[in-house]
Symmetry: none
Subunit: 188 residues, 2 copies
DNA sequence: AAATCATTTCGATAAGTATCGAAATGATTG
DNA sequence: CAATCATTTCGATACTTATCGAAATGATTT
């Protein structure tokens, strides 16, 4: 997950420099030695060496010895790979390491007291939904509850149990049977 | 020339950061508000704003107002463009700002295919010479080649190896020893 | 082995930038 | 218009890195 992303970041960093892009463009024509590249770009040999190191680190260039020189060439294979990189599936997987419950946790932290009860019931819909997801955890799947039992559980969180109860049903986190007033938790 | 490269550098810089990549991955799933992104990534709102600014600067994300929030979405068009970015021709043009061999580069871009082979052998003398300078790079200085070896190397570029071979000798880029038919690369 | 030439490594410096907190701005609701 | 909430801007800090010069390493020739 994360290591794969690091590799991607390194790849883009390798291309995120004007002089390295020029090197790639030059090597796309034909191989060059480091000395030639330095002359063409107006840079010192040590600087070019640094750039080539970053490029070869991600497999974009490779070197072969030739006389005094090392001759560097572009690895078009690495670029081919890049073309395939931007499929929707691969893009989505870039976010793999992300903690998707982060938003809920932040809202819960903002609206709850140390004992877990609610300081207030959020007015904004998105935050209310996060809080309702938090509250509904205290109900067990499969169980059926009377309205009185529901209110008792909800009262741990806030005195306005009616609002919470209506919210849970409205958010389709719980359901109610029309007549008898029995409630149960809905699964995702 | 250079402005175009700057744009490219900015584009890669926009993607050369782990958190921005995650944002791209998340927005590839569906739009998010800045607040949600901040919670998901464990960053402060101001930091996320900075990242979104860099991403929208290169057209990768766009925003639309929705209630209190601004909702950001990925511009898949910008990514499509990226796929086309790595054609041989465009790669070669990345080195346009480099002040040497500009003419040769243009000719090479015009006459070569993505794999580096020749679409055709130029008829005009100046263009032919530029192409010959390009071709001769694949010969190593000091080496001696039989005609068969020469033809094998030249066949990477064009099936008419005889024309290329005669051109190289005529342009004094390579020399041939009269009797035995051995060839070698001439230095500038 | 000594000399020569290119490349790499190292240390230093300057520029860039990711991140935060605080303040300013913008947008929406009451 | 006042209150509320999200976003942006600003100033500061810490980390990264592009660049250079000098020294070390590697490779080739004599």
């Amino acid at each position: 997950m994360s290591e794969k992303n690091d590799e991607l970041v390194l790849f883009f960093k390798a291309l995120a420099d004007a002089n390295r892009l020029k090197i790639v463009g030059l090597l796309a024509q034909h191989p060059y030695s480091g000395e030639e590249l330095a002359a063409l770009l107006g840079l010192k040999a040590s600087t070019v060496s640094h750039h080539l190191s970053r490029l070869s680190q991600v497999g974009l260039v490779s070197a072969r010895a030739e006389g005094y020189y090392s001759v560097y060439r572009l690895e078009e294979l690495a670029l081919q790979k890049t073309r395939l990189l931007f499929s929707h599936k691969d893009l989505v997987s870039v976010a793999d390491g992300v903690d998707v419950d982060g938003y809920d946790r932040k809202v819960i932290a903002d609206f709850t007291r140390p004992d877990g009860s609610l300081k207030e019931i959020p007015a904004q819909r998105k935050k209310l939904e996060a809080i309702l997801r938090y509250v509904v955890r205290d109900f067990e799947p499969g169980n059926r509850y009377t309205e009185k039992q529901v209110n008792k559980i909800l009262s741990r969180f806030h005195e306005d149990t009616a609002s919470l109860r209506r919210g849970l049903v409205g958010a389709k986190l719980m359901a109610r049977e029309g007549g008898g007033g029995e409630y149960w938790k809905l699964e995702d």
